[in-house]
């Protein structure tokens, strides 16, 4: 029981790391599921059981966290930020960003401050909570796992 749980957790962590690393790519469930040697449906169920949210929800939060980073630390136009984090529609990106963060990308940029902390801490601690805003669940999923 214990070892099986550890193997499952480690497989799911491998998937989560792939989302963290390749968030700007067109990630599909089949590719992620293959990393854990499970079916897409099994991946969604197991990932949610281990981390409390679906891979799609995690991907959304990862992309928005990265967008927040780029807005804080660069002068890139919001359109470029949108494209760099994996979205192709500025309107959809801005709506999602506002829904999760509670501010538009440009307003966030105006008030945010850079941070000197290490990447993995910044990544984890600036990632908007999955429960931050209910509108996140209404967004069209780039990974159809719900």
């Amino acid at each position: 029981m214990g070892e099986a749980r550890e193997r499952t957790n480690r497989d799911m962590l491998r998937v989560r790391d792939a989302v963290d690393r390749d968030f700007s790519e067109e990630l599909d469930l089949e590719t992620l599921a293959a990393l854990a040697h499970v079916s897409p449906d099994h991946l969604v169920r197991t990932f949610r059981s281990v981390f409390g949210e679906t891979p799609h929800r995690y991907l959304q939060r990862r992309r928005i966290e990265r967008a927040m980073f780029l807005l804080r630390t660069t002068d890139l136009p919001v359109t470029d930020v949108c494209l760099q984090v994996g979205y192709t529609s500025l309107g959809a990106f801005s709506e999602l960003f506002a829904g999760i963060v509670g501010q538009s990308p440009s307003t966030y940029r105006a008030v945010a401050k850079p941070t000197p902390a290490h990447t993995s801490f910044v990544m984890a601690w600036t990632r908007p909570s999955t429960h931050t805003h209910p509108s996140i669940s209404r967004k069209r999923p780039p990974v159809a796992d719900d």
Binding site: G2, R5, E6, N9, L13, P116, H118, T119, S120
Partner: protein, 138 residues
């Protein structure tokens, strides 16, 4: 009181032999102490020549009851064990390429950050590692 440096820190590993293979065999650390204390295997590693040691601690009795040990192991395996190590190198990209060649899981490729250049990796158990060239804080 003036504390001079961090002499010993600790992370949880799920298998100490596998940890040795990774931290010594792949990462290039050296064994500082490997002693059977009876109640536990005291296993520490360090950067060659460094005074700072890292205890590779296996969760389990008698420090943990079996249920707690299972919980700790589960947390480590999903990257929530609390262990986190950062190492300094001269050439970040060369270190990255070397670890890739050895099959180490990379969580983030070498990237320029506000504090320096670094990349992310995981040990076999789920612990997070950062390896980079980060100027010392002034």
């Amino acid at each position: 009181m003036n504390l001079s440096y961090t002499r010993l820190s600790s992370i949880y590993v799920l298998d100490q032999d596998e940890a040795l293979d990774f931290y010594v065999g792949k990462l290039g650390l050296e064994v500082a102490t490997d002693a059977d204390l009876g109640f536990m295997r005291w296993l520490t590693v360090r950067v060659p020549g460094d005074q700072r040691e890292i205890l590779l601690e296996r969760p389990g009795p008698p420090a943990h009851d079996p249920a707690t040990a299972d919980d700790v192991r589960a947390l480590v395996s999903k990257g929530a064990g609390g262990g986190w190590l950062a190492f300094q190198v001269d050439d970040v990209d060369a270190a990255h390429d070397e670890l890739v060649a050895q099959g180490v899981e990379i969580t983030q490729p070498p990237s320029d950050m506000s504090y320096g250049r670094d990349f992310g990796a995981r040990d076999p158990f789920g612990n997070n590692l950062r390896i980079g060239n980060v100027p010392a804080a002034s």
